[in-house]
């Protein structure tokens, strides 16, 4: 049985009678999900791929279900198998198991990418699929389905604007905003609502952390500091005074950003330095334990820690910056959580290599902000001398 779970096996048994033999399907799909690093088991997966494609449209529901617990690489083996079946069936004038596919799209417990795939196969055989399904998907956990649902509401809002019905347009944009997680859509909504006299708190919508404690500078000569665990990585004491780069004292300062995208400019907050490491710390209160994505943007070398555990690193400098560029996956505890960022500046002297900044937001897997508050316990308060608003 390998990595195939009981639930999945049960699900396959519950498929319509027209579907392929459950046992063979599970075994074949298991081989697609068994591909390892550096091409391990590729040969067996290739044979399984041909076999499952040969099973035709009846295999589609099982392929989709197999994506539920597949890793990203295995999911792509499954995706191409399903897509190939659908493409060849449509080209040959054969039908797809539309009812089973539509059921699958509606079942939000399934993998979002798999549900999106089922939706796209339905769209191939029924052009009215978007009209029928998207209306109920504004809060969908599949980012792609949700994005299209938001786009559909935006189209309605535009139409209301064209009719000069501003109240209806405002209501439609507000409705779209409840689902919007992608920056381009949120930007558009915020701009249109602003024109209608309705201000959007973009930072709150995205879940950007706006209040931080910052400390610098630690040595990053020759980019070596990226892999040096300076004292803040061993535990944050906001009142601590560290021995920083060149023996200079380093103290925590409090910073609040008013940037709509939560940007903290370290050159402004800490002074311009090269070849240095800064840390940013925020104590986060979560109302419940939950999975979280810590999404950051930074043009600098960056590490992300949650509750003392490193979740993400990228040691690259001055090659671009964007919202959600770095994604760390972790778990928030109920109550207090400690979020720590390491933001490294290198020693390049070109004009385009001077930025030193970051932004961080907390969201779920689809990109919607998760509820949190920034805690302010007594121990979090550094000396007041450093308050700054970049």
């Amino acid at each position: 049985m390998g990595r195939v779970g009981f639930g999945q096996l049960l699900a396959v048994f519950l498929l319509p009678a027209a579907s392929v033999s459950a046992e063979s399907s599970v075994e074949v799909l298991a081989r697609l999900k068994a591909v390892g690093r550096e091409g391990e088991h590729n040969e067996a997966a290739a044979r399984a791929w041909k076999k499952v494609v040969g099973q035709g449209p009846a295999a589609l529901p099982a392929i989709l279900q197999a994506m539920d617990d597949a890793d990203a690489a295995s999911a792509n083996w499954l995706r191409t198998a399903g897509d190939t079946i659908a493409e060849r069936a449509v080209a040959a004038g054969n039908s797809l198991p539309a009812e089973a596919l539509e059921q699958f799209v509606h079942q939000t417990r399934h993998n979002g990418a798999a549900r999106r795939l089922a939706y796209e196969w339905l769209c191939r055989v029924d052009a009215k699929t978007p009209d029928r399904l998207l209306a109920g998907m504004l809060q969908d956990p599949s980012p792609e389905l949700r994005r299209d649902a938001v786009a559909a509401v935006l189209k309605q809002a535009r139409s209301q604007l064209d009719k000069d019905d501003k109240d209806a347009a405002r209501a439609a944009y507000r409705r779209a905003l409840t689902g919007a997680c992608d920056k381009d859509q949120v930007d558009l909504i915020a701009k249109e609502l602003d024109k209608l006299g309705d201000k959007v708190d973009v930072a709150a919508h995205f879940g950007f952390v706006r209040q931080w404690l910052l400390v610098a500078s630690f040595d990053n000569h020759d980019d070596a500091g990226f892999n040096v665990a300076y004292p803040p990585e061993k535990g944050v004491d906001p009142k601590a005074v560290y021995k920083g780069k060149d023996g200079k004292e380093a103290r925590w300062i409090a910073v609040t950003t008013v940037d709509p995208y939560g940007m903290v400019d370290l050159n402004k907050a800490l002074g311009k330095h090269k070849g240095v490491v800064a840390y940013a710390y925020a104590a986060i209160e979560s109302p419940q334990a939950r999975p979280v994505q810590i999404r950051a943007g930074s043009i600098n070398g960056i590490k992300i820690f949650l509750n003392g555990k490193e979740l993400y690193h990228l040691d690259e400098y001055h090659h671009g910056m964007d919202v959600d560029q770095h994604i760390a996956r972790g778990t928030l505890k109920a109550g207090r959580n400690e979020l720590l960022l390491k933001v490294c500046q290198n020693e390049q002297n070109e004009d385009w290599a001077q930025e030193w900044k970051f932004q961080v937001r907390l969201c779920d897997a689809v990109g919607a902000a998760v509820p949190f508050t920034r805690t302010h316990s007594k121990t979090d308060n550094p000396p007041k001398r450093g308050e700054a608003k970049p």
Binding site: E38, V53, N76, T80, D83, L314, E316, G320
Partner: protein, 399 residues
């Protein structure tokens, strides 16, 4: 009779890419030269267009053509998270198949480039597609998946947030992958049948876009990998270093060009190396006249043609002496290609200049498609294939 016919068909299908095919970035051997003749000189979005196909999303990779099929990659959806490999019938433009992947690596890149920046490579029977996300796949010509790898799963510290764009190449049954980047930087030789590693060797840790070049040295098939600090020939079969030339002023985008035993290495200055039987590279000449930002130089009939900031320069390949220059405008992201004594130069705004080569150049036409055009043209089967941001054009006289 049927069995004989089947045998003939199988024999034809089993052969490597045809001589007139365009199997990889910059065509056969990466030389950017086609033997095709009678190609159109003038065209527009409607004139001399045999067919035109809409592509999903966008991309800057070139099409490759072999055995009557055109393969091209594309990237779509928000932040180019969806990757596509498409196959078209070269004669009619009919889409034969399309496969998709979800990106498994980051999709951050400079707005000029795309996750569909590396050009695929084909041996006529199979096509191998690499994306800037590190997703790598091999398909049979009929669209069956042979294997797939997520290189970011295998090597999570690969990173180039400007966007990876160097293309894979083939040497026999080894697929050669340029994965020089700012993190885990290496060159990789992969078994085409299984997708498993044959060899992996560390490379300079910097972002880089040079497509490797396959060549013969000392009776061995070598692959040349170039960064700003070196050009190194590796045995394509096992990754052993055959020779290396170190110089901190070499280019990080244009590919080298070959002429007999000369290796012309783009840089500032560019360097012509002669590699002895023993594998020692000797500098024959240096020139600052070959300083293209993105476009690779092309060697044709003893001369080098290289893009400048505003046009093309022609140099004597044996001496590096400049013979002439011609203004063609600006915006040369694509590399020039040559066929039938004519240079085809694609420009970012969608124009392609056709220049007759000789002792003096003659501009024959400037053909506009009025769409962003950053991909290097491909030439095969009496047609010029131009991949704009959103379309694939087959430029040829209508049959």
């Amino acid at each position: 009779m049927k069995r004989l016919l089947l045998s003939v068909i199988l024999l034809l299908l089993a052969r490597p890419a045809w001589a007139g095919d365009w199997p990889q970035f910059r065509g056969p051997g990466g030389a950017a030269v086609s033997e095709e003749k009678g190609l159109p000189i003038k065209w527009s979005a409607t004139e001399n267009v045999r067919w035109k196909a809409e592509l999903p999303g966008r991309g800057v990779s070139s099409p490759v053509i072999a055995a009557g099929r055109v393969y091209v990659t594309s990237a779509s959806t928000y932040r180019e998270r969806r990757l596509h490999v498409l196959c078209f019938d070269a004669a009619t433009g009919k889409k034969l198949w399309e496969r998709q992947f979800a990106a498994t690596g980051g999709t951050m890149c400079h707005p000029k480039t795309s996750m569909a920046a590396p050009t695929p490579v084909t041996d006529g029977q199979h096509v191998y597609a690499l994306f800037a996300t590190g997703d790598l796949a091999a398909f049979h010509r009929d669209g069956d998946l042979l294997w797939y790898r997520s290189l970011l799963r295998d090597y999570p510290d690969i990173t180039n947030q400007v966007g990876m764009a160097a293309s894979p190449v083939l040497a026999g049954d080894t697929l050669l992958l340029p994965l020089e980047n700012a993190g885990d930087s290496f060159a990789l030789g992969v078994d085409v049948k299984t997708g498993r590693n044959r060899w992996k060797t560390p490379r300079r840790r910097e972002i880089n876009w040079v497509t490797p070049t396959v060549a013969r040295f000392g009776g061995k098939t070598a692959v040349l990998f170039q960064t700003s600090g070196d050009i190194t020939a590796y045995d394509a079969a096992n990754g052993a270093v055959l020779w290396s030339y170190k110089n901190d002023k070499l280019g990080t985008v244009p590919s080298p060009a070959l002429l007999d035993d000369l290796v012309i290495v783009p840089g500032n200055p560019s360097v012509a190396l002669r590699v002895s039987e023993g594998g020692n590279p000797e500098v024959v000449w240096k020139s600052r006249k070959l300083a293209a930002a993105y476009a690779s130089p092309v060697v044709y009939r003893g001369k080098i043609y290289a893009m400048t900031g505003i046009g093309v320069a022609c140099l004597d390949a044996s001496t590096g002496e400049e013979l002439w220059r011609e203004r063609l405008g600006t915006g040369f992201s694509a590399s020039p290609v040559i066929a039938d004594g004519k240079l085809y130069v694609a420009k970012e705004e969608g124009d392609t200049s056709v220049v007759e080569l000789g002792d003096k150049p003659k501009i024959l036409a400037n053909n506009s498609l009025k769409e962003p055009l950053l991909a290097t043209p491909a030439i095969a089967g009496g047609a010029i294939y131009l991949r704009t941001e959103k379309h694939l054009y087959c430029i040829a006289a209508k049959k």
